[in-house]
Amino acid sequence: MASIDIDATGTNQLLIGNEAIARGALEAGIGFAAAYPGTPSSEIVGSLAPIAKKMGIYAEWSVNEKVAMEAAAGASFAGIRAIACMKQNGINVVSDFLANLVMTGIGRGGLVLVSCDDPSAISSTNEQDTRPIAKWLDIPLVEPGDFQEAKDMTKWLFDLAEKTGTICMLRSVTRIAHARGNVKLGELPKKEQKAYFDQIHDLRNVMPTTFMPIPSPLRHAFLHLKLDRALEEFESSPFNRYVGPDKADLLIITSGSCWLYSQDAVKALKLEDKVGILKLGTLWPLPERLVEKHLNKSQKILFIEHIDPFIERSVMEMAANLPAASARPAFYGKRSGHVNAYGELNPDLVIKAIASIMELTYQPRDIEYGKKAEDSAKSYVPERSLTFCAGCPHRATFWAIKNALKLDGRSGFVTGDIGCYSMALGPAGFFQLRTLHCMGAGTGVASGLGRLGQFGFKQPVLAVVGDSTFYHATIPALINGIYNQSDFILVILDNGATAMTGFQPHPGTGTTAMGESAKVVSMEDLCRSLGARVEVCDPFDLTGTTATLLEMMAEGGGAKVAVMRRECELVRGRKEKTPYKVHVDADECIGEACGCDRLCTRIFLCPGLIWDKTTGKSKIDEVICTGCGVCADICPQGAIIKEAA
């Protein structure tokens, strides 16, 4: 990771988009940064936290996004510039608070919300465009088109937030957040910050801000005035710019990384003198005067943006208001079907859209060559489905769950949640996960299912949740289940880290984002205090874990908690040596014969095990095997041998 705190004004540094945002926040003089980790947003606070002490700021991994936003707002209320960062799902979690925050306004410290969207849901359960919340809740919104802008816009947004007295939002996408580019650094502020919660109403901005007892409709009216002020800034913002001829055959209106794809596409088609690109950096409120000026450039307008037709619809709304005499351009984009309203875009898709509108044929490369190249690349990729790491405790947990549910025999099932263990939808977790929605939903859903006894419902319900997700959003659902005597088992997969997003600490780990030690909030003590029966299992003890789950299911009678405690193998592996040396005794391995039918490489599917087609035996991939030894316990022939390493 680049050092974002380097004091070298004017130099170029290679930064990923998230680091550029963090640097922008530093240059803006933030004092407070809070986030709940979530791909692709995690590296913002991830890069601020390690340098926080040195830079005299505070950074935390909050328990969830709503708390992160609220905590950051608290800092703003006391005059400290603050940033809260999250992935797209976090915006849903935070929306209730935001809907009220826009009514009260922020404090003296600028407050910025960063939302990182994940087109194609590469690391998400949903694909969601968060820009509409800006329109919905009247929040000034910007979207950087490259890494320099990611930094510069972030810095500028704090000024804007303070000038307008309202929270400002920056929307990023995976290819900005995680791609890397040159960023020219600005100055780091040197001034000391003082926090003070000013109880005297701040009338600086003429509009009543934070704490005046004013009826909401009036506040709402003031909010629109704030938005007007932002619009004035947006109309002349250098983050909006046009590249292309004065009169164009086609005008592309775009934002974010789609700006880069649009430039590539126009270049590849050699249409620089025919196609113009209006790149918008300030998206809401829409700088209508600027857009109107450019609409005159062409009779054909194509919108290239990620996920929803956000700019597209805003421009069309605006166009409906154009003077009757003005020429009406044709609009192309997601509504017309020229661009997908789902999935990540890329230069090829933009080329396709342009070529289709302009009736061009374009073949980027020889089809045969393309196929050959693809086959050649694939030949280096091991045949493996999406799976847990070698030695992952979740594989063992789902093995025990699978067997316990089968043995129990009442068609029990698992409701699921967000984390590495979401992969239990597929072969990695033996297809055990049957529901998957938002953070904490598995437990809420289970709480409902567990109350259906009066309708003849007898299926045992297990709700799985990760340790970090437990603290994030599960506790209210658990309390609901306990108090309403719902019959389900909450299975907490406690691997001691927010593993999927990069091992960020959480209240169960004993350390904070800034590396300080903290008192662990014990999940089992918490659950016991709520009145639930709590059992703690080691998932690597497959027999014991299966027996405990079976016994808990048989007991019934209200919500219970089973904690599966085993450290994430990637965390453990950094601290300790391999516990076992594992090998396959080829003489004992019966492979595909009756009596095994290659359980280890057909069902268990740890990537540390390889099926050798030529010998008809399993073997250990010594590079990948982490020596957890669990496969030795499932081998029916005793052919997998584990020896203390």
């Binding site: 067997n403 043995l407 025999g409 009756c594 009596g595 039918d597």
Partner: protein
């Protein structure tokens, strides 16, 4: 039922879900997929074997009686009501401790204790009744452990699953006490020895128990739990007719249930079982009608005869002739079971020529169905 060996899904389909499973355990424990749990056979994961040993050794899939008899006794399947016999007699243990704990005469306990003590067997697979009165298999290696397994609780137990789980490469000689369905499964294994499982030749002694029917461990155990403080029960007994009751012995006296109430929990498969006397065992043992404290003993093989002789010679076993009317009654009851079962089978298959799993000669089948 055709004679082909099929896969585990067909085993579940044709046997388990069809209500024919005897819970003998022959299909379970030999692979990671099939296990028994609380009176059910459970398939844990999908298996791709088209011809599974699970299907092959099941006593409710096609069973060639002549071929099995040929393998066990060297002769085709006997038409005698109680199968191939060398001798039928009465016996009882001479050991007071055994007699006190035994169901009837303690013959099985006496024979096994002797075989272990003399080194004829290294261990024996038995069924033990736990304190909560659930049955489970035990690999006994001493007379003391054998004694713990004395007595019956009339519930089916998947003992053969424990056998299948034994280390496959050991050469230790093994005895087994089994119900007729289990003896049949072992005999199928003897005829076509299993692969990647314990060596079937290690089984040196099979003691079969007479059986008219067995109770479903899950359902019946729940019934008992609701009616009795099971920890207090020292013994269960179904006294010979005409008593028509099920007795639970407790320190405060015998608690009796009408037999009909208990028979509700009979395994469905027992109605389709022809074998009352465990016809392919080395020695078969049961009660003696009207004579308390003794066992009826059918000696069927050389190995069985040698052990009985040794037990007599060493004073471990007291024997007597079985009264002719008792033998006649036994044969009558055994024949009745065969006839009933075969008629039930035909009722189920709807075809006199389709005897489901029973591979009998047409002649004998027709004779029994007549």
């Amino acid at each position: 039922m055709d004679t082909k060996v099929k896969d585990c899904k067909e085993l579940l389909n044709e046997v388990v879900e069809a209500g024919l499973c005897a819970l003998c355990g022959a299909c379970a424990g030999g692979c990671p997929y099939l296990v028994s749990y609380k009176g059910r056979i459970v398939l844990l994961d999908n298996c791709t074997q088209s011809e599974g040993q699970c299907y092959e050794y099941c006593p409710r899939t096609h069973t060639d009686m002549d071929a099995i008899s040929q393998r066990v006794f060297g002769v085709p399947y006997s038409e005698d009501e109680v199968g191939t016999t060398k001798e039928v007699l009465m016996a009882r243990s001479t050991d007071a401790r055994i007699k006190e704990r035994a169901q009837y005469g303690g013959t099985v306990t006496a024979l096994l204790s002797l075989a272990l003590a003399e080194g004829l067997l290294d261990s024996a697979i038995l069924t033990k009744t736990a304190d909560d009165k659930t049955p489970s298999a035990l690999v006994a290696q001493s007379a003391e452990e054998v004694l713990q397994c004395a007595g019956s609780n009339y519930m089916a137990c998947s003992t053969l699953e424990t056998y299948n789980r034994l280390p496959k490469d050991n050469n230790r000689s093994l005895g087994i006490v089994a119900m007729p369905c289990q003896v049949l499964a072992i005999s199928k294994m003897k005829k076509d020895p299993p692969q990647n499982r314990p060596t079937i030749d290690n089984i040196k002694l099979v003691i079969g128990l007479f059986c008219t029917w067995a109770l479903s461990p899950d359902g019946f155990h729940q019934f008992l739990r609701e009616k009795l403080d099971l920890a207090q029960v020292t013994k269960f007994d179904i006294p010979p007719p005409p008593a028509n009751k099920f007795d639970a012995y407790t320190p405060s006296g015998i608690i009796s249930f009408p037999l009909d109430e208990v028979r509700r929990f009979t395994m469905a498969t027992c109605a389709y079982c022809l074998d009352m006397t465990a016809e392919f065992a080395d020695i078969s043992v049961g009660s003696v009608e009207g004579i308390e404290g003794w066992n009826t003993v059918i000696v069927r093989t050389e190995a069985g005869a040698r052990l009985i002789e040794m037990a007599k010679a060493k004073g471990k076993l007291e024997t007597a002739n079985l009264p002719p009317q008792n033998l006649a009654h036994l044969k009558e009851a055994a024949l009745l079971k065969k006839k009933r079962a075969l008629n039930e089978i035909v009722k189920r298959s709807g075809d006199k020529n389709d005897l489901l799993y029973v591979g009998l000669s047409h002649r004998l089948a027709n004779k029994l169905l007549a």
